[in-house]
Symmetry: D2
Subunit: 279 residues, 4 copies
């Protein structure tokens, strides 16, 4: 019985690339956090420290910056360019995954007019993940998108085991920080696809009368698959950011769903994939 190398990869994490497009008087800005991960015939460096096939992670970082010189475009496209490059230019590399976080910036308004070169950082992060191993696999996503419904959420009818003390409720605050990632089965206009998918996720969150966070999650995913032909499947991770109604009765006060304590930990965590039955 021997000891062997299993799955492995290496790369450069979190290269913070900012690109300014000065082509028009109204500048545009792209703000990315790029992570590369390469795998392939890399046994030598693990077993003997022979680095013949180990393109330095520093070179990977340089590639990110150099490739940006001609323009960056959508994160899915930029990630694909990089992933293809590493596989096609490095003989030992069989697969490359490039993950990008894209931070949003809103153009400032000055005196009612859009500013030419001034921006404010927006909430939420768009993500893209592309793997190239001869074939391209493209996913898009979002993270850190915090949403809340003040009503329209119930939770009851659950089993009561000996450790259950939770009271059933027909009206609660439902809040979560959406992390979603959807895999594309076809290319598309990535910007339009992302904006529309995001719109569908938010609108569904707002419209569903929720009996459980699982129901909300599934409805969000199903809606995306129904409306976006290019999406093969979607994975959602929804922490249940509990808002506990405060018991004000010791102070002679009622609390008709108005005063809540927003707690940090513990929190529910709901995770599911919604997919196509041929996916």
């Amino acid at each position: 019985m021997g000891i062997v190398l299993g799955d492995n990869s290496y790369g450069k994490a979190e290269t913070r690339l900012v690109f300014v497009d000065r082509a028009a008087p109204q500048h545009r800005i792209v703000d990315f956090n790029v992570t590369t991960a390469l795998s392939g015939d890399l046994a030598a460096t693990h077993l003997t420290g022979d680095n013949t096939d180990v393109l330095p992670t520093d070179s990977q970082k340089n590639t990110v910056f150099a490739f940006a010189r001609d323009g960056v475009g959508e994160p899915e496209d930029f990630a694909a360019r990089l992933a293809r490059h590493f596989v096609e230019s490095q003989p030992a590399i069989r697969s490359a995954t490039v993950d990008i976080e894209s931070y949003g910036w809103d153009r400032m308004t000055v005196g009612g007019a859009p500013a030419h070169h001034s921006f404010v950082r927006a909430a939420g992060t768009r993500t893209a993940s592309v793997t190239y191993d001869g074939t391209l696999s493209v996913s898009s996503g979002i993270t850190d998108l915090v949403v809340l419904n003040t009503t329209g959420s119930e939770f009851w009818g659950y089993p009561k085991d000996p450790y259950t003390t939770l009271a059933e409720t027909k009206d609660r605050v439902l809040a979560t920080a959406v992390t979603a990632r959807w895999r594309h089965r076809a290319g598309s206009d990535w910007a339009v696809s992302h904006a529309e998918t995001l719109r569908l996720l938010l609108e569904t969150f707002a419209e569903v009368h929720s009996l459980s966070l699982q129901q909300t999650l599934y409805a969000m995913g199903r809606r995306v698959l129904e409306e976006r032909e290019e999406v093969a499947e979607i994975r959602l991770e929804l922490p249940n950011k509990h808002h506990i109604p405060v018991d004000l009765s010791p102070f002679g006060l009622d609390n008709p769903g108005v005063v809540f304590h927003a707690t940090d930990r513990p929190y529910g965590l709901i995770q599911a994939t919604v997919t196509r039955d041929d996916a």
Copy 2:
């Protein structure tokens, strides 16, 4: 020569209060992080552990929730209610400071119409700090407001000591995370005052052609004092979030101000108060 108790305070930090206003069909939401700090005749508990005058921090937390039952309003008003209460109800307490972080939520849009009960967390945090010691002192502020100019910023003409290697520049990216706090010399409509002060800070950041971040800071503060009579003085803390142009020449590429590395540490840190000469 003896050992004595000096300045001291105690309180409850970071009570996370969420208030839902259901009065109208379109719900409204208030999301606060409340910190109380009391001081006064508190030597006994320090010297002997006699807690006769130590209102528990747990009671302070309860007070935050109970006071919210009737509505919260602007953070400056809610902080003042609390601060007055602790001083007026606790004989030993001479001064109370209540600090509030207020997190913004944008109403969602569904099918083009504003949602009734659904919200998305916005970027940036509004702050208020109120001290009551018989007299009210009210400050307002913002924090974590990240802004960026893609051009219109220079830095040159500085002294070159033996440790100076920085190249002068007539065009750089200028980015910062604004923390500001302004003291009021008169009451006002807090919501309007805050919105207008924030607008003035942002517009000035966008409009100033900057020769140093100090110049931008001072212009931001001066503009607020010029336009907002109710503001006595303003303190700004501006980290210089460096965006370093990447040297692409090793790759045979120029970089005409388009590709930047956004670095984390170290960072410049500029801090100043802009005040009135009678303040």
Copy 3:
């Protein structure tokens, strides 16, 4: 073509349990962060909001606390108790995974003697992950264990592509934050197994003359498999926390490997599994 529910789970994340063992005059303390995740026949709640099979995450939290009443023991054992319980007591639940972070506390010394009831939080976090689906699968691990070699690390002989500017080095600082997770193929004395595995990881990090971080990683994993029969395989994630020698030549100074800039981002990230060829 239909839309269907894929992989899913739900549970309570980050229940912060502290257990005090008062049995002996020298108290002992256990400090856990417990996350439960259940999966099984949970389609109903996703599709229709029928919660008949959804044991509340609040009950899962309560179970963590209640089970601790009789003592906690090693994190692997406590996780296994919980995982078994959820599967065996909830008809719809087919699999339960319980992840535990265990924070270390050092007993204080007072006047040279060990304190009876006073502790200082130590660095590093021990982890355990147990899945029960009829069979138990037990993994142990560590995270946030930051280690550094001041010498004994080289990096050279790598391919130079057009984006490579990195200089080869025969002597560099090597620093990383070890995250490791090893799967057991047999039960054992978890405390001894963990302590010995940790010792082997650290000693190997110290002893290997490293030609690449991959070589160090593999040697660490191999050593554990060689010495610990109960370990089936081990996965290591090693961020390369770069320490860049500062170029002091502009100031007329050399830098013989003494002055370094510890950078945050980007960082190399090396990940690999070392396994047995029959695992």
Copy 4:
């Protein structure tokens, strides 16, 4: 009434300096996070963007690295060297403050013997803050030192106002993350002074039978002033990291002080200075 510049400073925050002392076969390591802040005649850059007197923060960073070339020593000494340098070499600068966080590393043990060049990051952070404005003012401190007593802490006898629901207790867990800063009135062996002060703080925390966290705080400060002649005064900030006994009665279980929920927010926050009456 005019608008004027008030208090201001600028500098470089968080320069991450690591120094390796290779003089002996057993290497030593110094790991600092250095922040510089300069103030003086800096009106010009604020008012007109004239940078004649603004030594770049980049130069300040370079100075940190260059000064380290000859050895670093204790953080108090290194901060003093830097602070003096900026004031004495820059005509416009009247005062410089240098803050240092010093991270601890424990030497690894390999086969029972101390390693020559391998280290593990320890918990807790030592701090130093030095201001030079013609006179040196030196403070030392610690931060992020988390300590816990499993017993020996009571809290009762406090006022019960209408918002008080807290139950009195004769035995609770007391946990806090110590941040302390003490000002020196005389130079001393900084390393010995720091180690001894830290020992006194920890031992006092362990030994005091506490009726309030304020009492513990004051005892800790007083002990330092009693034993360390070189310390003029000490400021302590002690968050009360609440460990709430879990009510297990719904599950038919008692809880004799063994099962606790460690909560995040809100938390008590106790702050006080202990000083000499001639300080």
